[in-house]
Symmetry: C2
Subunit: 200 residues, 2 copies
DNA sequence: TTCACCATGTAAGTTGTTACATGATTCC
DNA sequence: GGAATCATGTAACAACTTACATGGTGAA
């Protein structure tokens, strides 16, 4: 149900086509909740059937078509309902930590490769979130500005603060992962000589 | 494919029935990689067909049955292969941070409830991992001891160290989530009066 | 004898992945 | 005229969830 909530959250910023949504899901939002186009288009059609959104059909050129989706009252209600309901935590499936627990099975090279690519992965995430935070602070976030334009003056501070808060949490997580992997590299180097010794 | 790797990792510790595996997946391992019984039994049958494991059929009482699974050479090879291959990161789907980004939509009560239950959730995880670490340090982990019993002397330190390392990372993550949610509570209290004012 | 635990699954549905498929528009 | 981008999907498959379904064993 969270894909649906993510779509509603985006459409609440302003009406958008499936294509525009898809671009959002491949950028910043996609780093919190990923969704490929093959999931977005069918989901929009389902939401249309359930009247959470409605499509404004636009003609492009001579034969082109564009369906711009708007949130309906029912959709707004569903989103607010989700926001106020208890959150369902999905069970963890964390392949990196699963692997870490059995790292003695991997070759010393593979251990370093694993930890280094873990760092690279989370560095990418960290950069993404730090950029987002900088963009918010500079009042240059297109999506947020679009939302603020239709937000009452007294609610703007809150809207900005929570967005920043969310991104800070994601950045903190990325930093924790990087720290952890760096400690892992030190550990593997400490263990290294013994591992080699045992191969003799 | 990680479910398969997790099963192989457990069976490498020692032969086990589906039921025993299932118990592991509902305890400590299940906090890294969750799997319900309805996924484990069919997966074991598939792995049996692919000859990654074989089942030793044991009779219990007069009519009871028990299939104890052992890792085959092919299974061992598959596990080591997975351990040495680059890890595939699954795309993030983080409903808590998704929600956090739009918290201005929730009622002040719902915000606190969300953040408090986030803390409770991660406190539970943290406790789980700290217990595991304490158990390892006291040489009282049944699964780890079972594994160490069939491990060469010089590899034991590594085996213990990586297990501890994995759990430390999970504990660190839990702490980061708790910290973040606590900052969120402070933030919501700071914003609180204004939010109320805007309702007048 | 009854209750907790051992033991093994199936079935239906949802969600997510990967690959395929097509065509229009706009800008250079 | 060609490339990037706009635009919308389908199909097959894999993974995961939730609920259902059944029966044996062992100890109090």
């Amino acid at each position: 149900m969270s894909l649906r909530s993510a779509i509603l959250a985006l459409l609440r910023i302003g009406p958008m086509s499936g294509y525009e949504l898809q671009k959002q899901f491949s950028q910043s939002v996609g780093h919190v909740w990923h969704a490929p186009d093959s999931q977005i288009y069918p989901e929009l059609r389902k939401m249309e059937k359930e009247e959470l959104v409605f499509a404004e059909e636009q003609v492009r050129g001579t034969a082109g078509m564009r369906r711009v989706y708007h949130v309906t009252d029912a959709g707004e209600h569903a989103f607010v309902g989700w926001m106020n309901a208890p959150l369902k935590y999905q069970r963890t499936r964390d392949s990196a930590h699963l692997r870490a627990a059995y790292l003695e099975t991997a070759s010393p090279d593979a251990v370093l490769e694993f930890l280094n690519s873990h760092i690279a992965h989370w560095m990418g995430e960290l950069e993404c979130w730090e950029d987002e935070i900088a963009t918010i602070d500079a009042y240059e976030s297109p999506m947020l500005n679009r939302r603020l334009a239709v937000t009452a003056d007294e609610d703007r501070e809150e809207t900005v603060a929570y967005k920043r808060f969310a991104y800070e949490g994601l950045a903190a997580r990325a930093r924790a992962e990087i720290d952890w992997a760096e400690r892992g590299i030190k550990l593997s180097k400490k263990l290294g000589p013994k591992a080699t010794k045992s191969e003799k």
